[in-house]
Structures are given as C-alpha cells and as structure tokens.
Point group: C2
Chain length 109, copies 2
C-alpha cells in the first residue's frame, strides 16, 4: 500500500520503468488534441454514437472515426455495437479523474 508521496518512488524502481513512462507519455499524447478532448468531454455527459458526436462537434464522420480509433487503442474509450450504430463511452474512472485534475490545473490561466 503506497502513500501518495511514495508511488513515484515505487514506479521508479520497477524494471519496466521506462516502458511505463513510454505508455504514460503515449496516453497523454492521445489526450493532447483538441478534437479528442472535445470528444471525451462530450462522452462524459453520456455515451454517444459516432454520428451524434460528429453532429454535436461539427466534424465529419470520418474525422470522428479516425480519432475514436486512436482513443480506443489507448483504452480511453470503449464501445458496443447496436444494430448499425456503434455507441462509445468513457472507458474508466481514471480518465475522468485525469480530466478533472487537468481542468483544475488550467483554471486561472
């Protein structure tokens, strides 16, 4: 059980340390695009179909689909098929927490 202060020390000691950092950077890189942030923010409200996202965010279906694939690959969103639709949603709580902290960080800039 790590104290909040010690988690970094324990991570630093792992033998796959650099691999963790690589995946971490990769995850942030995926989050670091306005379109993907807008998609994720929309999904914090409720799950949505590709078409709904495209319409709500004023993007082409193609652009949304491309970005959703990237978000899927980083396990930031999950999806299920429903007839001819595909419904996407935020994959887990970490994403929401990261978003919350990120918002608090940028508040007052």
């Amino acid at each position: 059980m790590d104290s909040k202060k010690d988690i970094f020390r324990s991570v630093r000691g792992r033998d796959d340390f650099e691999s963790v950092l690589y995946h971490l950077a990769e995850t942030f890189r995926v989050l670091g695009d306005l379109t993907r942030v807008r998609i994720l923010m929309a999904l914090t409200g409720s799950e949505m179909r590709v078409r709904d996202l495209a319409e709500a965010l004023d993007l082409t279906d193609s652009a949304v689909s491309h970005q959703l694939r990237i978000l899927r690959n980083s396990r930031l969103v999950k999806f299920r098929k429903e007839g001819k639709n595909v419904v996407y949603s935020i994959s887990d709580d970490h994403v929401a927490t990261i978003f919350r902290e990120g918002i608090e960080h940028v508040e007052g800039m």
Copy 2:
C-alpha cells in the same frame, strides 16, 4: 461546491468552455512527450538543475532547456535561480495527481 459527478456539467456550461478545453488539450499535449515525462518524473524525486537533468537523462543541455521552456509555459514546472544555476521543480499537486492517475491507467497494458 461540485460533486465529483457534476464538475463536467458545470464546466460544460461555462461561456469560456471551448477555451478551457483548448488549454486542457494544450496541457496534455505538453505532457505527451517521452522526454518531458522523463523530466517531470525525475523532478518528482527532487528539484534539479538543468545540467543534472541532462546528465541523469542522457540528453543535451539544449534539449533539456528547450523542453523546460515548454513545461514552464504550461506552468507544469517552476524554477528559481541560484547563482549561475537554475533549479527546476514540479509546479503543483495537480501535476502529481495527473501523473499518478495516468500511471494507474497504463498499468496493465
């Protein structure tokens, strides 16, 4: 006072909503680079000079300095001058929290 679930709704309602999302994406974009992640991770251990970072991470001084400027601009690190040295450190707790959640997200990938 927002409940954890409502923060997104309250952010979505703000008139500078898109601006918040822009800065949020910008912050993640800055975090989304392996070199910068390595620098920040090193700084979670203790504050460091530019030279120390360069040596510890096997980078040129120039590369580190360039990246530190980017991190500074996003207020992810702060610094103070000490003679001819400049000592950098993590700017606030949000950064550490975002890192922690990010690490938990990538665990098991």
